[in-house]
């Protein structure tokens, strides 16, 4: 089985935010929730870089470790998913997550925090694949249809890569070798405890 990962080649990202928009549209993500975002480092200074970031589907995921109701599970593809039926909206997964991935609708007690929502690697949730219940809670399940996440599929510069970790690491390695530079596989050390030697 493939081990699914994301990789953002920051030397290609042009901060067009198309991945953010595509994600919102594909999953009909509610207002105020950002499963993916683009962060620009050293904005306006020489050497600025933009990184598109969402849930990295960590190895030994910190969110899953701290969840008081244990509502996370990792699929055979290494995708970290959760059950909104079990989530109590305590917000702890956000404190543990290195990437700011978990999102909370402003509903529930005092409008502070509803059930957590995050990137599913376009793989839905615990409900039956591609069912209406799954779509309503988690958005579409592209993986079940044999497709990869939409954000990476439509990235105009092919900066954002999604898929089998070994394959995308190889693509990145070749790019770096060919062009002679690379600012690094952002987040890989933190999420997967490995880097891509380049």
């Amino acid at each position: 089985m493939a081990r699914m990962k994301f990789l953002c080649d920051a030397d290609r990202c042009i901060e067009c935010n198309a991945c953010v928009t595509a994600c919102k549209n594909e999953h009909e993500v509610p207002w105020g929730i950002n499963r993916r975002r683009v962060v620009t480092i050293n904005d306006g200074k020489p050497g600025e870089r933009s990184v598109s970031m969402a849930c990295m589907h960590c190895t030994d995921a910190p969110c899953a470790a701290v969840c008081p109701v244990k509502c996370f599970y990792t699929t055979a593809d290494g995708v970290v998913l959760h059950s909104k039926d079990l989530c109590i909206g305590c917000g702890y997964c956000f404190y543990a997550c290195p990437f700011g991935a978990p999102q909370y609708p402003k509903v529930g007690n005092f409008g502070s925090r509803g059930k957590m929502d995050k990137c599913t690697f376009c793989a839905g949730g615990p409900e039956a694949d591609s069912s209406k219940a799954e779509y309503d809670k988690y958005g579409s399940n592209r993986l079940a249809e044999g497709k990869l996440p939409l954000c990476a599929e439509m990235c105009s510069t092919k900066s954002l890569l999604a898929g089998d970790g070994d394959v995308i690491a190889q693509i990145y390695k070749e790019r770096v070798a060919k062009r002679g530079y690379g600012s690094g596989a952002w987040g890989w050390k933190t999420a997967y405890k490995e880097t891509i030697a380049s």
Binding site: T40, I41, G89, Y92, N109, S112, Y181, G187
Partner: protein, 332 residues
């Protein structure tokens, strides 16, 4: 006419291009042919050598999402998974063990001269109401809070994932809503009793002699002895710390960023488990630890001999007051 104008325009444009080219050519000739755009680019490794987390600019309104990577989440995970459960288990089980040992060796502190049959009012209805309001809220807050810390290990195997999740949802509602009456109770306790809880010289003597529970002597005390004064301040300060850190957690990211939220959770967790341990001792003394003590918060009236034994100065003050009152009243 228009033809002429257009011609003129293109002539100017051509001239401008030629001028530009003449400036640009020597300039590019001076630069190295191969530009390395990565020489100045930010690199993850390099940033992590300089700082503990990576922040940037975002184009969405959610300011907390400007943090790109915060490895500190891993140390918070360590605190949540290992440190807090250990502190909690040691504090709470340790206190229970101590109390059991204490009860077995010391037993219930008796009213030495037996009950006199006469009573004296110690806490009025309002004081007792505030006490029990705070106490009930505290017990619910403690159970629903400890459910977040230990429920996954203890209750989840019994209730199953679905049962445990719905119980935890209700527990969270209870924890959130009862925080308000609890905070009110702590504020009222502060206002109501602070006058009797300020430390003075009798406390030093009381503490030296080990009080009425540890020692066997009965050092004099006014309405509150030093032990009770310490309990008062633990409740007021612990309640304040729990409330401030708790409201930061309840209204996330209004006042602080992710680092602040992690700190708030750490403070809240540690204060809470120690608070629970301290309250176990308080409950012990108020019930099986001391004969006649529970009545003060039960009916509000305590036996006079109990009062004389534990709070002689207070009894004298009360007696003097009532004598003064009866003397002041007109004869007949």
């Amino acid at each position: 006419m228009t033809m002429l104008l257009a011609l003129g325009r293109s002539a100017i444009a051509a001239l401008a291009l030629a001028v530009l080219a003449s400036i640009a050519v020597p300039a590019s000739a001076q630069q190295p042919t191969q530009v390395n755009p990565t020489a100045s680019s930010v690199k993850e490794d390099q940033l992590f050598r300089q700082m503990t987390r990576i922040d940037g600019r975002i184009s969405i309104p959610d300011a907390k999402e400007g943090v790109l990577i915060q490895p500190a989440g891993q140390s918070w995970r360590q605190f949540h998974e290992v440190t807090l459960p250990w502190i909690g288990a040691i504090a709470i089980l340790g206190m229970l063990a101590l109390l059991v040992i204490f009860y077995l060796t010391r037993g219930m502190v008796r009213i030495e001269r037996g009950r006199s049959g006469r009573t004296i009012m110690r806490f009025n209805a309002f004081e007792r109401f505030v006490h029990w309001l705070t106490a009930t809220c505290f017990i619910v807050l403690a159970i629903s809070g400890l459910n977040i810390t230990f429920g996954r290990q203890i209750l989840m195997p019994i209730l199953g994932p679905n049962g445990f999740a719905s119980w935890s949802q209700y527990a969270k509602y209870a924890h959130n809503y009862l925080s308000f009456p609890f905070t009110l109770g702590v504020v009222l306790i502060l206002l109501m009793w602070i006058a009797w809880a300020l430390p003075n010289r009798t406390d030093v003597e009381w503490l030296k002699q080990g009080g009425g529970l540890v020692g066997n002597k009965h050092p004099p005390a006014a309405r509150f002895n030093a032990g009770q004064k310490i309990m008062f301040w633990l409740v007021v300060l612990g309640g304040a710390a729990a409330a401030i850190s708790g409201y930061l957690l309840m209204f996330p990211f209004y006042a602080t960023d992710v680092e602040g939220m992690q700190t708030a959770q750490m403070v809240h967790g540690i204060v809470a488990v120690i608070f629970v341990a301290v309250m176990l001792a308080h409950i012990y003394i108020g019930t099986i630890g001391m004969e006649g003590a529970f009545e003060s918060m039960g009916t509000g009236d305590v036996d006079l001999n109990w009062a004389k034994q534990h709070h002689p100065i207070w009894v004298e003050q009360e007696m003097a007051q009532s004598r003064g009152a009866s003397q002041g009243a007109p004869a007949e």
